[in-house]
Symmetry: C2
Subunit: 316 residues, 2 copies
């Protein structure tokens, strides 16, 4: 397939992965923060990352090791593209935050590159390339982040690996996402999980998941709040996050419907009614402060949009 | 609470437990077969089982060991009832079939006894007593059978143990339930399951469950057929059922949407469109015959009603 000359710029949002009940299979987009990726047609036949700015940390410039670069390599190979890409990345999502930073860069990269195709693909068809990028960066390709970051909303992994299933989100709910100033590596955090789960615990978590999915479809806030819990992964991962129990308690005592880790943490999310969001955010922030951690707080719709093109790269 | 003098007779249906995707947490009622229990007020303060007829096998007459008797004992104690019960049971559900026989007797018993109360309870409030009966008989109290047998329909266990959640069933679907002439003890079958499940398998089965629940709410038959699968329990239990793979293949090659064990088996269920039900039933029966097993076949609505009172005990 032929590439158009020119440049395209795309934004992809952060995401809450797992959402307490759906380890590696459920996630939702967040309005902000997000990553911005600029993709320019190049006459060579490679993917070259020219620059990474923003909260970039120690991200690799080598395309094969960078989620945006690896996603574009997969896209070039998968579509047999003639021509290469020059890439600039502006990270808005802190590394190792549990907010889907590597997924956002991969999604924004393929979303922008799609705009340079003579015949752009349907957005959902970009998912395999974004997943390939995520795999290169994190060693795994859980679909929980990347699906909603590309397509928006609250999404379940599809049983056949196809387009993640959109779940309706009860109206009037918002997500508070708080990122304390400490870092957990996804790759390391994943390796530390128990590989085997007692069957009774599987049934318990499955009951929560099934009730949650049903509650979303019914718009049943009461059932949703009873089911938005993680008895499977949170007990293992939360011990590494200073003050987590205090933060969770503060959220739940202030009318949050559920509160757990975003992805592998340390970011923590809470779902709540719109009218409670500011209070929930404030008490969660105060709780992290009691553990000596500063934090960044984001309040977002749960049914937030996925990736989008930006007019130009002035923001980059 | 005071008991009225008299007699009440109730029917409770068989059920498909687990329904492939929801081990110990999902089930649905079947129109027939079912158990009929007659409960008569007695002046003593005990529960006495006078008779068990039908496909009774070797069921214990000792009330404490019988699911109907144990359920009534729990009900007498829980409600502080004055007076006892004389009980007759007509088993329509074969023992050890995987069709919820012990649950049906327990449900029919409490449903009938409720009619003898001065102020009958709401039907859902009978669930704990029926579960206590099931526990006495099988050593476990999975809610997957008993909830639908009492309340009807396709039901998910509630995360707090409350009234199981009714799931909508896409119209025009039926269940084929086939019981081959061989027996598996629930107690033994449960003990034989792996106690620990690999996390990757947990995620895979959870993806199927979540997609299934979503498909039911959306009425999405295609998604339902892609998700109605058991990668968790069926591989362990099906090896004890002669011809299972052949039966399942026959169903799926004849347009079944899904086919797996009912409860712990050996009964096998398939969901299919109404227009395919007779064909699916015939090919499943033929497949069991190829393994030398005669079988009984039942075709039912999936959204079948739960327990009901009978006019009298002429059928007993």
């Amino acid at each position: 397939m032929v590439l158009k000359r020119g440049i395209a710029v795309a934004y992809a949002p952060a995401a809450v992965g797992n959402v307490a009940v759906g380890f590696d299979l459920l996630g939702h987009a967040i309005e902000a923060p997000g990553d911005i990726v600029s993709v320019r047609h190049a006459d060579h036949d490679r993917v070259v990352i020219d620059e990474i700015t923003g909260v970039a940390g120690e991200l690799p410039l080598l395309a094969e090791e960078n989620s945006a670069g690896a996603a574009l390599i997969a896209m070039r190979e998968g579509l047999g593209l003639v021509g290469g890409f020059s890439v600039r990345i502006k990270k808005g999502i802190p590394l190792g935050s549990g907010m889907g930073g590597s997924g956002a860069s991969a999604v924004a990269a393929v979303f922008a590159a799609n705009d340079l195709l003579d015949e752009p693909l349907a957005v959902a068809d970009l998912l395999p390339f974004a997943l390939a990028g995520e795999t290169a960066a994190t060693g795994a390709a859980p679909i929980d982040n990347v699906g909603p970051q590309l397509l928006g909303g609250l999404r379940l992994a599809h049983p056949d690996g196809g387009t993640p299933i959109a779940l309706p989100v009860p109206q009037d709910l918002q997500c508070v996402l708080i990122h304390p100033d400490c870092k957990i590596e996804t790759r390391r955090s994943r390796a530390g999980l128990n590989e085997n789960i007692p069957l009774t615990l599987v049934t318990r978590q499955s009951t929560l998941l099934a009730a949650f999915v049903s509650a979303c479809h019914q718009g049943d806030i009461d059932l949703l709040s009873r089911s938005l819990r993680d008895v499977l992964i949170e007990p293992q991962r939360s011990v590494d996050i200073p003050g987590f129990a205090d933060v969770q308690r503060a959220a739940m005592e202030n009318s949050a419907l559920g509160c757990s880790l975003s992805g592998s943490g340390p970011a923590v999310f809470a779902w709540c009614r719109r009218s409670d969001a500011k209070t929930v955010a404030a008490v969660m922030r105060a709780a992290f402060e009691r553990s000596g951690l500063a934090s960044s707080v984001y309040i977002s719709a749960i049914d937030a949009p996925g990736a989008r093109l930006l007019e130009n790269d002035n923001n980059l």
